[in-house]
Symmetry: C2
Subunit: 306 residues, 2 copies
């Protein structure tokens, strides 16, 4: 066994591995875990903002559903998982955090190729808040490239089960860099925009919001935008969105737990409108962050003062 | 730093992690490595049989090509990687081994989402030989299910870059189990057979061999079968193979570094022919293992006697 970890070593980033809380810099998983060697994992990411989890129960629901779909079970029930996530954040001392929970297939018994024989494993960690685009960058808006790479289709891997199959998204990123962009949206073979590395997309046209309806992760930030549309009387449609609709939009923004609602102001090297974040994007952005004060959405972390 | 590892602890399985050789049971990778959290990795597996690597240079070539395609670089050159693999096997003392080399994107700098800023990482390990179907099971032949899941298409992830995107293959396995089979072959959306979890497929019809020509990993065992076809005057075609051709074949076999050439005798609960491994499969099986004595294909491991 390892020696007990000092509390100060956990500050700034804490992981939960093999029933122990460890400093994030020392957090390691077995190389033989099929969660790595077969990417046979599901996960979820929730953020903590100004000391409170945002929509934690929605993230937990999605995580537990994904596990079930992948035939995975854990010795921990939902309450225990919730408790571990709170503990990771408390021990890290972070008030703005990116908190990940992971279930992997686990390590096979020697020589076995049968996933049913594995004992599934749970890992979690809290690290400082991660932005796809930080607030400074958001003032300008992002330069998005519509990639030639196709997002892995839902007939191969169910995108509603949050997963680590990212090689298509990474290829899209490298394509974006080579074409002068910052990030990419992948499409399907019919030319519809799907999703990007860690985010959903919305287009605004004539005061109406549209977001791809299938082939995508059903993001919690995406859902929040759909709900805010109802609150703010902005019509929202979920349906196929062609690449051309993205290029011709009045406004475009991306949504992610890693940063919330982030404006796109350039698509394939062309400015959208006047090249500034648009009014509906700004309205939703403001509303999104104000929901972080709303007790229906947040779960405060009871930090221990030292 | 960790204390030095005793040589006896390395017996039976050795990994190379962070420039050190460690017992496989203690081999761990950082949880934050994008090789795990984005499955942003490439790898290769070579086997050692009766004390010699089989076609090691072909595996190294494929691995290095995959790294290049994914924009990955390592401080180790090809000779050093080769040396590390030999060392893993020597230290493990295994004469029949499954040897894996891995390159991952690495751990991002804090807060970054840009893969270009990562320092790529190299891992390797040697464990006892793994069979998809062991020799006893091969006498009977496998029961293969043609899955309804589609293999991730090459327009999303290039299958010739060996990767860990297996959730489609794992779903295929669970489907096979639920339908009474042992393993599965996935198809594309046009209904062509593609590949299974860790293997390529061949069908034999009227003395002729056929294997899918696209959408697949170009397996080294697959290549060996194509070359053996030339040696043994058996015609081999690489082209689309429909699911129906698999069901109607005279013989079917699968190929993998994890077990070589393994007969399939039942497809979708129906026996192929008389339900026994067929003559061409048996001939190729015999030839495949005799090539493991051929100095053009093997690289003996200089074990250290103790």
């Amino acid at each position: 066994m390892n020696p007990p970890v000092s509390r100060s070593a956990l500050k700034g980033g804490t992981a939960y591995i093999d029933e122990q809380f460890v400093p994030i810099s020392e957090a390691r998983i077995p190389i033989l875990d099929w969660g790595f060697l077969r990417s046979d994992s599901t996960y979820d990411v929730v953020h903590v903002w100004q000391g409170s989890f945002f929509r934690l129960d929605d993230h937990l629901n999605r995580f537990l559903r994904g596990m079930q779909q992948l035939h995975m079970t854990l010795p921990h029930n939902r309450d225990r998982i919730r408790e571990i996530l709170f503990e990771c954040v408390k021990l890290s001392g972070l008030h703005d955090a990116y908190v990940e929970m992971i279930c992997t297939r686990g390590v096979p018994t020697a020589g076995s190729r049968d996933p049913r024989h594995c004992i599934n494993r749970f890992y979690a960690f809290a690290v400082p808040f991660v932005w796809i685009a930080d607030p400074e960058r958001q003032k300008e808006g992002l330069h998005l490239i519509i990639s030639h790479v196709h997002r892995i289709p839902e007939t191969s891997v169910d995108p509603t089960i949050k997963n680590y199959h990212w090689l298509d998204l990474v290829a899209g990123l490298y394509e974006a860099y080579s074409r002068g962009g910052e990030t990419a949206i992948l499409s399907d073979r019919e030319g519809n925009a799907i999703e990007g590395p860690g985010f959903n997309i919305f287009v605004v046209k004539k005061g109406k919001l549209t977001t791809p309806g299938r082939g995508v992760l059903e993001g919690i930030t995406r859902r929040t935008v759909i709900e805010m549309g109802q609150m703010l009387n902005i019509p929202v449609e979920t349906r196929n969105v062609s690449a051309e609709e993205v290029r011709q939009a009045d406004e475009v923004f991306i949504t992610s737990t890693a940063g919330g609602i982030m404006p796109v102001t350039k698509v394939d090297s062309r400015l959208l409108g006047d090249g500034k974040p648009g009014p509906i994007t700004s309205q939703l952005h403001k509303q999104y962050w104000s929901l972080h004060q709303d007790s229906r959405y947040v779960s405060p972390v009871p930090y221990v003062s030292e």
